[in-house]
């Protein structure tokens, strides 16, 4: 390889780096801020002047009076949005069946006597550890527990789930789903969680 060739390569790499590595992201950032400022900044939900979360990123909920999201395998605790991760457990790994069994028991213990089988998304870890959604079945499964903990009529809670339901895009793409954070914010809109200010 001659020195002249290397010099040309370096010059070309420099020019293309400026164009695709600096100007291109800067241009996209400028246009994004102009046309879609909310999305460009992370789709944050603001309540009373402070951000309470991102519409697109799930949060951990553990009280019986809130809907729970999917299990999360992020390091340092669930729903760590600074370090996304899945469980990467193989389908036949005994650790997977053990974890799922444990989650089923916890859900049953929180809502004794619920006869329904547990929807699969409620007991399996999401790919990102930040999944903001659960299936409508997973939300309805929890409606009885949430209603009792809040002293609400179960039908009212089920109606809220149905109101927060997102349909498939164009009736075709993706799955029907419920955003857990938005659903819980709507719940809090009905009245505060008992035992909390």
């Amino acid at each position: 390889m001659s020195a002249a060739l290397l010099a040309r390569s370096a010059a070309m790499l420099g020019i293309l780096t400026i164009l695709t590595g600096a100007l291109y992201p800067l241009m996209v950032t400028g246009l994004a801020r102009l046309f879609f400022p909310g999305q460009a900044a992370g789709s944050l939900i603001v309540r009373q002047g402070r951000a309470v979360g991102s519409e697109l990123v799930g949060q951990a909920f553990a009280s019986p009076g809130y809907f729970w999201g999917r299990p999360s395998a992020t390091p340092g605790g669930p729903y760590n949005a600074a370090s996304s991760a899945g469980s990467n457990l193989g389908p036949t790994n005994p650790a997977l069946a053990a974890a799922v069994g444990e989650r089923v028991r916890a859900l049953r213990a929180a809502d004794p006597g619920n006869p329904a089988r547990v929807p699969v998304d409620l007991v399996t870890a999401s790919a990102s550890g930040l999944d903001p959604h659960i299936s409508p079945a997973a939300a309805l499964y929890q409606a009885r527990r949430v209603a009792r903990a809040r002293g609400l009529d179960e039908e009212r809670v089920r109606a809220l789930v149905n109101a927060e339901l997102t349909e498939r895009t164009l009736g075709l793409l993706g799955e029907r789903r419920v955003n857990v954070l938005k659903l819980n914010l709507a719940l809090d809109g009905l009245g505060p969680l008992p035992g909390r200010p």
Partner: protein
């Protein structure tokens, strides 16, 4: 622009000179990516104050991005500064894809030129591919993604107070959530269009900010296949033989569709080991059901399976679900799509030049069977081209199988697998299939950041990229010098449905014969094992 670099874009390069330019440009790109990663702590645009990247990870990543593999041995949001993401990784996303395209274009010129010494000008091809094709498409794609919710900002991570404080062990609690942000959309757009696949975040397009909605998912999956599919028709156009391009496209579709069906069916069936635990995996109007470990609700099984096959058929390697948690047979298909040599659409440019090597093999084999001189696109195929095509077809499987064997024979290799039993073997086989074919997707349980894997997989990526590019360009040079042979009634036609079957069967047979034993030890053994547990 050419003047600044001291380049004459009208110079027609011979294949050796063209190859030298490809290698020199890629070598410098690799060094730049390595240097930027090592130095990122003292460079700007590092709001989280990330330290310099460790040497073995920096080497692996430099090779990975320059070779259009984009294997991730690191977690994006916890390792790379915004500066590194943009000026090192995004740049290589563009130019490594452009490299694939220019090598393909040189090969096509080899077929259409007559008695010529040159195969084109590398610099002009590079600049045109980057600035005329990739840049405008990426800009439009990036804006569409921001519209759907992908962030694009230079601000630091958002720190918000959650609705309910997170309860941690030992009575601690964490009232805040830190949401990693950055110039995400601009990188994700080119990562898909350039069949690169290296994500901004650790979990790639499974991250709800990297791929926020089913529509974003559809657009990204489309972008994965867009250019590799379109290049088939570029060939038809350049060779003034549209049917030849259509035949190549059809052969790819014939191999893709059954894979798509197989993965979807396997994943929708769910995990039999969970059924006895009281878990409902059936699909209904209220739940997508299926094997949901490592999948996102907004994509479901159908969206995840479609992506898994598209990303491994094309040598993209981005993921929207965790392939490691797929059912044994659902995970077998993506692995095998890579093992076919990344020719079912494949990488930008590289997929089609790989497929053309298979086409040369196919006309040679069928020529032998019917006793005719093999010809392709009006050029005679002789011993030299056959040797080069054989290299292109055989180097990747050799890398995959020897790499896997080496990993299984050493304790450093075995220590990397995170799941027990045959699934652990599948993780290793998947990693070498991915890097030995420049795909970049992973059974992500493997500790890819360990020095052994960072180095071994780095070598596999290097060899499978450049050990193929050089023979491809050699074929281009040798073809360009040849005369055109007229089509006669004795010519074996390569623009007919029959040739679609011959070509697809050649790819299928080479892939099956090479990899069935290894697949039997991994996913097939795991599947049989799972069935036995149920009895």
């Amino acid at each position: 622009m050419y003047r600044v670099a001291g380049i004459d874009p009208s110079e027609d390069m011979g294949w050796r000179m063209y190859a030298e330019a490809v290698l020199a440009f890629n070598l410098l790109g690799m060094l730049a990516v390595y240097a930027l990663q090592r130095l990122q702590a003292v460079l700007p645009l590092n709001p989280s104050g990330l330290p310099g990247v460790a040497p073995e990870i920096a080497f692996n990543t430099a090779v990975s991005f320059a070779t259009n593999t984009n294997w991730q041995s690191y977690g994006g949001e916890t390792t790379m500064s915004y500066f590194t993401q943009m000026l090192a990784l995004t740049v290589q996303n563009f130019v490594s894809a452009a490299t694939g395209m220019v090598v393909l274009v040189a090969l096509i010129r080899g077929f259409i030129r007559r008695q010529s010494d040159g195969v084109g000008n590398f610099w002009q091809d590079l600049v045109r591919s980057t600035l005329h094709i990739l840049l405008p498409l990426s800009t439009a794609m990036a804006l569409a993604l921001v519209w759907q919710g992908t962030p694009q900002t230079f601000a630091d991570a958002a720190r918000i107070e959650t609705i309910e404080p997170l309860r941690l062990p030992a009575g601690h609690s964490e009232p805040r959530q830190t949401i990693a942000l950055g110039p995400v959309a601009s990188q994700v757009a080119i990562k898909q269009l350039g069949t690169n696949g290296g994500g901004f975040y650790n979990v790639n397009s499974a991250h709800p900010l990297e791929c926020p909605t089913p529509l974003a998912d559809f657009l990204q999956a489309l972008a994965i296949l867009l250019i590799p599919a379109a290049l088939c028709f570029t060939l038809g156009e350049m060779a003034r033989a549209p049917r030849q391009g259509a035949v190549l496209f059809a052969s790819m579709v014939v191999l893709l569709v059954p894979a798509l069906v197989a993965t979807t069916v396997a994943e929708q069936a769910g995990n039999p080991l969970l059924a006895s635990l009281g878990v409902d995996q059936a699909a209904s109007s209220l739940s997508g059901g299926g094997n949901m470990e490592g999948k996102e609700v907004r994509f479901g099984v159908a969206g995840s399976a479609r992506w898994a096959v598209a990303t491994t058929a094309a040598s993209n390697g981005s993921v929207n679900s965790m392939h490691d948690s797929f059912t044994p047979l659902g995970g077998l298909v993506p692995m095998w799509m890579m093992q076919l040599g990344e020719v079912v659409f494949g990488g930008v440019g590289s997929g089609l030049y790989g497929m053309l090597a298979f086409a040369i093999l196919a006309v040679f084999v069928s020529g032998l069977m019917v006793g005719r001189t093999p010809e392709y696109l009006g050029k005679k195929i002789e011993a030299y081209e056959m040797k080069m095509a054989a290299l292109i077809v055989l180097v990747p499987p050799a890398l995959v199988l020897t790499g896997t064997a080496l990993a299984c024979a050493t304790s450093a290799g075995r220590a990397g697998a995170s799941n027990p039993g045959p699934h652990g073997f599948s993780e290793i086989l998947y990693a070498f299939s991915s890097c030995g074919n420049n795909n970049g997707s992973a059974f992500a349980g493997l500790s890819a950041g360990s020095p052994f894997y960072a180095f071994a997989l780095g070598v596999a990526m290097l060899a499978s990229r450049y050990w193929l590019i050089v023979p491809v360009l050699a074929i281009a040079g040798s073809m360009a010098r040849k005369k055109r042979v007229p089509v006669t009634s004795g010519t074996l036609r390569t623009d007919t449905p029959l040739f679609v079957v011959i070509l697809a069967a050649t790819v299928f047979l080479v892939g099956a014969l090479t990899f069935v034993p290894a697949l039997a030890l991994g996913p097939v053994a795991e599947h049989v094992d799972a069935l036995q547990h149920l009895r």
